[in-house]
């Protein structure tokens, strides 16, 4: 039954909430934590950490049970898709959220910013991220996008006494709201062109036309701009370095991983389902976005002197590589982009976790120069950061290598070899600044002023570093583990 018929005859349709259970658990936990914070204010953050971890674990269990879901492909009047595509993305996001919570408990303690509203906000952001990957209606995609964005604006400015944090929050907010308006304008045109906001309905309406009409093409362009802001693709990347640098490092870690995965999840679904009939029109556009993101991100990263900013530019370049997979416009392309996203999320989260620990307290030592000799002072930390940087650079045996190869091969199969050529050349140039940091850590003596700084960590901090490091190596050696899942997960149902 089509979504239209479902909605017209609602009285005969049972309300199926199970595909929405992960989000319900997350939001329920967040509300409970807000109440707890209001009723029993306590400086001890441990109950908050444990409860939010329990909420994320519950959501993950609910998500896993959806892997074998036999019910309808979409529920609630075609609003929520109950496919493995959503399960895969939710699991990646929930894993990032769990590590983000651990890292936050480590970071906030030391920065003296431990306040009760942090964890509910983080869980709301997580709920928005998981919801956007399961949403199969443009209305819900917009709402989920706002849920995650509004929470993240606040988290970015969470250390509000630090000027940089407040400034990052304002810049992120203004550009984020600006981009939301473009996104929304695109939705309005998609609705005008097809008469529906349901993704499957849009695909059906567009497929029955020989040529895409002007309204639909405007919609594609505006939605692509809106998504490009969220995934931080050039030329819509201006907020990224500022937001990533100014935000508390634990927030940077979580949002750099989570937002990109979530936004790409929705991006892949909207363009891989709704606008697939227009693929001929948007493929070239994605290719151009991918090429300039890779080039600009890599070139600007070379000039950075702050590790958080360097990783921010690196994440811009990574968005370009993932777009290469999307621009292929094929099943293999979507599959490789999904693999790349999981790898990217783990890698970037781990790298920011190392930054959080190496900064000792808050944002003290984020300059690149304080990484001189890090590997000699803290061998394990240095080794983990080396693994992450090699993975970002795409050097075997790290998972980033497999991710790049699969994205490139999908693009070559689709015939866009010039794009792959640009991407390969740029990734050679990009390897320079990753390796420069590694050389700094291993070959140089620490500056006298940071020689005596003691870097310590607790189990939560170590977990946030070592779990992603482990996965980066494992998926690099045994990529089949993920690709096995992706065979069925990359098929979008509706």
């Amino acid at each position: 039954m089509g979504p239209l018929a479902q909605a017209v005859a609602p009285s005969h349709m049972p309300i199926v909430l199970r595909p929405l259970l992960p989000e319900l658990i997350l939001v329920g936990t967040a509300l409970a934590l807000m109440l707890l914070d209001a009723l029993r204010p306590t400086p001890d953050q441990r109950p908050f950490v444990l409860l939010s971890l329990a909420g994320v674990a519950g959501a993950a269990a609910a998500t896993l049970s959806l892997w074998t879901w036999k019910g309808p492909g979409s529920v609630l009047g075609g609003m929520i898709a109950a496919d493995r595509f959503a399960v895969y993305f939710r699991l990646v996001i929930l894993a990032a959220a769990a590590l983000g919570i651990l890292l936050s408990s480590y970071y906030l303690d030391r920065a003296g910013e431990a306040r009760g509203e942090y964890y509910p906000l983080l869980l709301f952001a997580t709920a928005g991220m998981t919801l956007i990957t399961a949403a199969s209606d443009l209305i819900l995609i917009f709402l989920a996008l706002e849920i995650l964005s509004l929470s993240l604006y606040l988290l970015t400015g969470f250390s509000f006494r630090r000027l940089a944090s407040a400034e990052a929050s304002m810049k992120y907010f203004l550009l984020g709201a600006f981009s939301s308006a473009f996104f929304l304008y695109g939705i309005a045109f998609a609705y005008g062109a097809t008469g529906t906001t349901n993704l499957a309905g849009i695909a059906t309406a567009l497929a029955s036309r020989v040529n895409g009409d002007a309204l639909a093409l405007i919609a594609v362009g505006l939605l692509a701009v809106g998504f490009s802001f969220k995934i931080a693709a050039v030329p819509f990347h201006m907020w990224t370095p500022d937001a990533y640098q100014g935000a508390p490092t634990c927030v940077t870690a979580f949002m750099s991983a989570g937002t990109k995965v979530a936004a790409f999840g929705a991006f892949l679904r909207v363009f891989g389902v709704a606008f697939l009939p227009l693929a001929h029109d948007w493929r070239a556009f994605m290719g151009v976005l991918a090429a300039i993101s890779i080039i600009v991100g890599s070139v600007l990263a070379i000039a950075q002197t702050d590790i958080k900013r360097l990783l921010a530019y690196s994440s811009i370049a990574q968005a370009g590589f993932i777009l290469v997979g999307l621009s292929a416009g094929t099943q293999a392309g979507i599959q490789s982009a999904m693999f790349y996203l999981a790898v990217y999320a783990g890698t970037v989260l781990g790298a920011f976790a190392v930054v959080a620990i190496a900064s000792v307290r808050g944002e003290e030592h984020t300059a690149l120069s304080s990484y001189a000799g890090l590997a000699r002072r803290r061998p394990l930390l240095g080794l983990a950061l080396t693994a992450f940087l090699l993975s970002l650079a795409g050097i075997p045996p790290m998972a980033g290598f497999i991710a790049k190869v699969s994205v490139f091969s999908a693009a070559v199969q689709a015939g866009s070899w010039p794009l792959v050529l640009i991407a390969v050349l740029a990734s050679v140039a990009a390897a320079f600044f990753y390796i420069r940091v590694i050389v700094l850590m291993y070959m140089q003596d620490p500056a006298p002023e940071i020689e005596g700084v003691r870097i310590e960590s607790d189990p939560a901090g170590w977990a946030a570093v070592l779990a992603p490091a482990f996965l980066t190596v494992v998926f690099g050696i045994l990529p089949g583990l993920l690709f096995g899942l992706l065979r069925t997960a990359s098929v979008v149902r509706f």
């Binding site: 239209l4 909605a7 017209v8 209305i139 917009f142 709402l143 706002e146 509004l150 604006y153 606040l154 400015g157 509000f160 000027l163 940089a164 407040a166 400034e167 990052a168 929050s169 304002m170 810049k171 907010f173 203004l174 709201a177 600006f178 939301s180 308006a181 473009f182 929304l184 304008y185 939705i187 309005a188 045109f189 609705y191 005008g192 008469g195 529906t196 906001t197 370095p241 500022d242 640098q245 100014g246 000039a303 950075q304 900013r309």
Partner: protein
């Protein structure tokens, strides 16, 4: 056939495009963060005009466009709440809210 008392679709579309462009200009040209915020609201309301116009034009039995406009209004209110909170935060720290003077983070 178009009845005499209905407005033809291009008119509200052009009106909303004008509003949206005014909003974009405001975001790019204004220095005061509150004015930038107001320009963003102008853009969102331009979209609302578009949604309602399409909904009426398509004779949508589900009123998708009009219901969507209600959602947009709600979200815009939440966005203003958070935006003004951030602006007040900046103002308390620096006694001014000009976006081009908030430049601690660059390059």
């Amino acid at each position: 056939m178009i009845a005499a008392d209905t407005i033809r679709l291009p008119i509200p579309l052009i009106f909303s495009a004008t509003l949206f462009s005014a909003g974009v200009y405001g975001v790019l040209a204004r220095r005061n963060a509150v004015l930038v915020l107001m320009s963003v609201e102008l853009m969102l309301n331009a979209v609302n005009v578009n949604l309602v116009a399409f909904s009426a034009h398509l004779k949508d039995k589900l009123f998708t466009g009009q219901i969507f406009a209600l959602f947009v209004i709600t979200v815009a209110a939440a966005e203003v709440g958070i935006g003004l909170a951030i602006v007040i935060l900046i103002y308390r720290n620096r006694e001014m809210i000009n976006v081009d003077e908030v430049n601690l983070l660059k390059w």
